[in-house]
Symmetry: C2
Subunit: 660 residues, 2 copies
């Protein structure tokens, strides 16, 4: 029985799967071969598309040459998720070894549109570069009085949890799984890595609720994972300890995990934030993080599950007076000595940069220093530090830079991420899914880069535009590309300069506060004084962080003469008069980029304004309203940053513009 | 029937009324003359004291010369609250025209202790200088998720409200009324001036709960007032408007007020925060604040009640780029044009300074500019900006300076405050009442200064010590005096310098953040750049605020040469090298005071440490623990402020001390 396509609740935006995206495939005669749940999903998709566009989808009939499209399970070993695509003699064929591969093949055809049915195409095999392409939802079951329901969420409440339990109506979750499949994401962790009391119990007596969600996601090939608390044996199990080497603790986890798999046979595994920002962990028992992670890996191993152990461990009670401690060093210092000690089922999940998802950071040196450990790379799709979905900030180019970066061994970050590419989700129960409608492009791009880390982000953007606006009139495609393509660099221009990071309002992280974290315990400093600004992270005279890199990066970052401009203040404290490779002084660069950034927002807003009538009115209005806020905020950033540095440096703007 | 003395719940500190404070009076033969509820209160106090210390208290017996103390209602007109005190031929007499006067007379005797029964004393008449001596409790019925139950409260939850309604057990409220009577306070507003939805209804269907509290306070001469919402006719009455000139609105307030007096015949009146920080007010209808206040005064007039209308009106959405707007000007600019327009039953309640209870502000110019308006002066006993009851900061000297300050007309602030002296309470359900046990001294001192604004604060402090520690062993009295007496100036030294104000963490206002409010909409700036710091509020070149004063202050404040050092940065932006009257430069003053402030805290902590064994252990431990936090925080203040100004000015400390 073909699985009916999930129905979107009234008023919810179809994102990149509007019905019209299926026009080309829906008008064809299609044959589907094979069996299994995901084949029924494929059939359901095609049946719905054909119903709408007049085509016909049949099952397992004898081929008679009259089919435009044949999708079927075939003999080649294409893996769980791979598929082959070809076109010959007027018939397009998609072959896969597994239903999931077939589903991805179908969405490949959808993306191609008419091009999938034109001319001839030699057989191409598509396989995801990374087996795990995962979203971490920082969703809480309960609504936190300050953080709201979704920690760092800017798109309303949780998609999964409502009124203190799993949603009873899961159509929207099913539709979410469908959107994820269409961009290649195959796993979700359904609760916050900061595991509070109610959420801890999802592991035990509330696992049935997780199973309900897993059931809604499964037809689109999305597996469910769970964030758990390292202290669960104490808080849930009543044991006196959570020591990972304690036999009763190991037994408790084994039994708890067995019950999880009873409820969810294809359960993906655990996500753990341990000994970080107040969460419990193995340090309390004098055990290493490898010992902690291996405890959970052992419990999951009989079932093929994986533990994702976050490497986000640092001292968040640092003394700002102590310039020798460097938060950027922390993940490397903590974890590199453990390389080779993690079990096969333990994945170390590493933020892409050494700090915390700033608009510009160097790539984490840890990613080049643990060859004997399965690593996952963590990105942040939710725009915590990049405008909180009130600003347009398409992060594709940044992620692409990260994924293509090569450490000493010659592997790119995308190749190093054998444990998967993971991102913090930007989705909530907002009608547009992501608060800012254009932030959907970030989610889509993440999925596609997880499938193929060396993809051209601009091409992915165009894919997203074509799918989301399949009936785009003249000018719309170019306009959308224009407002999104440069938006990350625009955001970088009007916020913290030259890689120095932060300068945000403490706590909520929206809007400027140049000294907001300067004297705080969080380890996020810029050290601006009347002579200069930046953090000396060199080996010769600074914190030594630059020495965590191999060649050529250690040498390159060590000297302000060779350090790339965009990371200069991350690695060096330089005088305001220091001349950049661009030929400008640091202070003039600060002024210029801040004026330019605001001008670019003004231009983007004007481009968006010119698209009235080409975009659905509700969507246009939502974006237009957010541009007003983005512009207000960008001006605030410009004026605070420029005033701050003018007051400190005393250097006037070379172009005589107004600085308050 | 003598009224039994309220019993303190187990574990609650007796504050300045420990049983031993009654030793002198409790050992005497006392006669009480007269009748009425407060005479029964007096009798109850004496009966309890005599029970404990072996004296005897009788009622209306024929005098036989054998009484040590005679308290009675007499013929002289001493007013509601005055009393006469004399001692002759071995008998001490207290005479009053009203029971309240008699109660205050009794506490006068208690304060004198043995001295009340020694030698001879000519008749002295004591009358409060101010008829209204009031505490505003910023208590909410419900617990606010961020602010807690008591806004700016640092002593636990509310004394009055629990589990969403008035406490059912009111012994502690009775005991509170008794403490207040003993220091002269005679009125309380029982809910927050920011009136939320649940609290708005105290005016109408929940007035019975207010009546319960009023009943508990009445036996100690404390009247109850209520904060109300200007929008009540709409939100509670269902009217389409709250326009003060609308006939139905006036009728609604008249009827609501009539019902309040039905429930509480001695109700004091309303407190209103209107058109301020988001609260509703008359501006919405194009009406003046006099029209708004007079609306409520008219409703209260038939019953003799008063409306306290707060003058805390300013633009809290200011643009920091606009240097012409000056929050300090706001109260004067708003209200002085209305002088003479307020009804007799309307009191304009003015914060003592033009900003918001900073550790140092000039006296509000409004207090010298509205001779035809009844003014109340508002102080803040709760230590919002002065260490939040984690720091010792005895505010007596500051309040005394304010109350003795004379504007042009020659009247002191204490004399101008014909509408009363009002303070935001520092009390909660904490076992020590005020969080920090030594913060009790602030509450006591406020009451005594409200009774006599020109009292010597040091003498009041010694009174508080003698009452609170009646069995003080050698060294304790001096030690207590030492840690409290200079504590305000110590706090001033290590926080924002020279009257500039703020530099606190936004939102909660605890701990330093030099630029915390610098680019904010709240109008609280210091404008520090690499040349200098401070706000030019002169007439010649600044915001003109100094011109709001009469002679001699306008001239004095106008020039940096004559402006008092401690207010220099409030009135002037000066170079770091500006030489103070003290002979030091501004920058060296900043460094020196910040080092000194911390040293003084270290010394005070050592003095406190030396008192171990002389103070009740629980109290000693609580204070000792808070000294640790005060010292940590004072060092943080020192280091952040010094580093900030060193980074900006580039001027090294003249004494070569460590600046980070």
């Amino acid at each position: 029985m073909p699985l009916p396509v999930p129905v979107l609740p009234e008023g919810v935006d179809p994102a990149w799967l509007p019905p019209a995206a299926f026009r080309a495939v829906g008008g064809r005669r299609t044959m589907i071969r094979g069996s299994g749940p995901l084949v029924e999903t494929v059939h359901g998709e095609l049946a719905e598309a054909c119903r709408r566009f007049g085509g016909r989808a049949v099952r397992d009939a004898v081929p008679d040459g009259a089919y435009d499209l044949v999708l079927g399970l075939g003999g080649d070993d294409l893996g769980d998720e791979g598929f082959a695509f070809a076109r010959e003699d007027g018939t397009t064929t998609v072959t896969a070894s597994d239903g999931r591969g077939l589903l991805y093949g179908l969405f490949h055809v959808v993306r191609l549109g008419e091009a999938a049915f034109t001319g001839a195409r030699a057989r191409e095999v598509h396989r995801p570069a990374l087996a795990l392409r995962m979203l971490d939802h920082w969703d809480n079951v309960a609504v936190h009085p300050v953080m709201g329901q979704v920690e760092r969420g800017y798109a309303g409440g949780s998609l999964f949890w409502e009124d203190g339990r799993a949603r009873r109506e899961l159509d929207r979750v099913r539709a979410y799984g469908r959107l994820l499949a269409a961009c290649g994401i195959n796993a979700i962790s359904v609760n916050n890595v900061n595991v509070h009391a109610a959420e801890a119990r999802l592991l035990t007596d509330r696992i049935g609720e997780v199973a309900e969600i897993a059931g809604a996601l499964r037809p689109y090939g999305v597996r469910t994972h769970l964030s758990v608390s390292f202290a669960a044996p104490i808080t849930l199990g009543g044991l006196p300890t959570a020591d990972p080497l304690d036999r009763t603790v190991r037994g408790w986890w084994a039994e708890a995990t067995r019950r999880v798999y009873q409820a969810i046979p294809d359960f993906g595994g655990y996500v753990v934030k341990a000994d970080s920002e107040g969460q419990p962990g193995p340090f309390a028992y004098g055990r290493s993080h490898a010992e902690g992670a291996n405890l959970l890996a052992a419990a999951l191993e009989p079932f093929g599950g994986t533990v994702h152990w976050r490497a986000f461990v640092y001292d968040h009670r640092q003394d700002w007076r102590d310039r020798t401690t460097d938060r950027a060093r922390a993940a490397y210092d903590h974890f590199v000595p453990l390389d080779g000690e993690f079990a096969a089922g333990a994945v170390l999940q590493v933020k892409h940069g050494p700090m915390d998802f700033q608009v510009r950071e160097p790539v984490s040196p840890l990613l080049g220093a643990m060859p004997r450990t399965r690593l996952a790379v963590e990105l942040q799709v939710t725009q915590e530090y990049t405008g909180q979905q009130r600003h347009v900030c398409w992060l594709g180019p940044m992620w692409s830079e990260v994924l293509r970066f090569r450490h000493e061994q010659g592997l790119s970050v995308g190749e190093v991420a054998r444990g998967g590419l993971v991102a913090v989700s930007n989705v909530g129960d907002d009608p547009f899914w992501t608060g800012h409608p254009l932030a959907q492009a970030n989610l889509y791009t993440f999925g596609r880069l997880a499938w193929q880390p060396d993809a051209e982000p601009g091409a992915v953007l165009d894919e997203w535009i074509a799918l989301s606006f399949p009936d785009a009139l003249e000018g719309l495609t170019g306009g959308l590309h224009a407002v999104l393509d440069g938006s990350w660099r625009t955001y970088e221009k009007y916020t913290a300069p030259l890689g120095v990071g932060f300068m945000v309002q403490p706590g909520h992280h929206y809007g400027p506060s140049v000294d907001g974290y300067e004297y705080s315990p969080w380890g996020t400093y810029h050290f601006a004084d009347r002579e200069g600004v930046g953090v000396d992270r060199g080996v010769a005279s600074g914190t030594g962080y630059a020495g965590q890199y191999g060649k050529p990066w250690a040498e390159l970052y060590e000297s302000p003469d060779t350090c790339p401009d965009e990371l200069l203040l991350f690695f060096h404290h330089v005088p305001y008069g220091h001349v950049l490779k661009s030929g400008k002084t640091v202070i003039q660069h600060i002024y210029d980029t801040h004026f330019e950034g605001v001008e670019e927002v003004e231009e983007a807003r004007a481009v968006w304004g010119s698209l009235t009538g080409l975009v659905d009115p509700a969507r246009h209005a939502r974006v237009a309203e957010r541009y007003e806020e983005q512009l207000r905020s960008a001006r605030e950033w410009r004026d605070q940053v420029n005033s701050y540095f003018f007051r400190k440096s005393g250097v006037p703007d070379g172009r005589g513009r107004l600085i308050h």
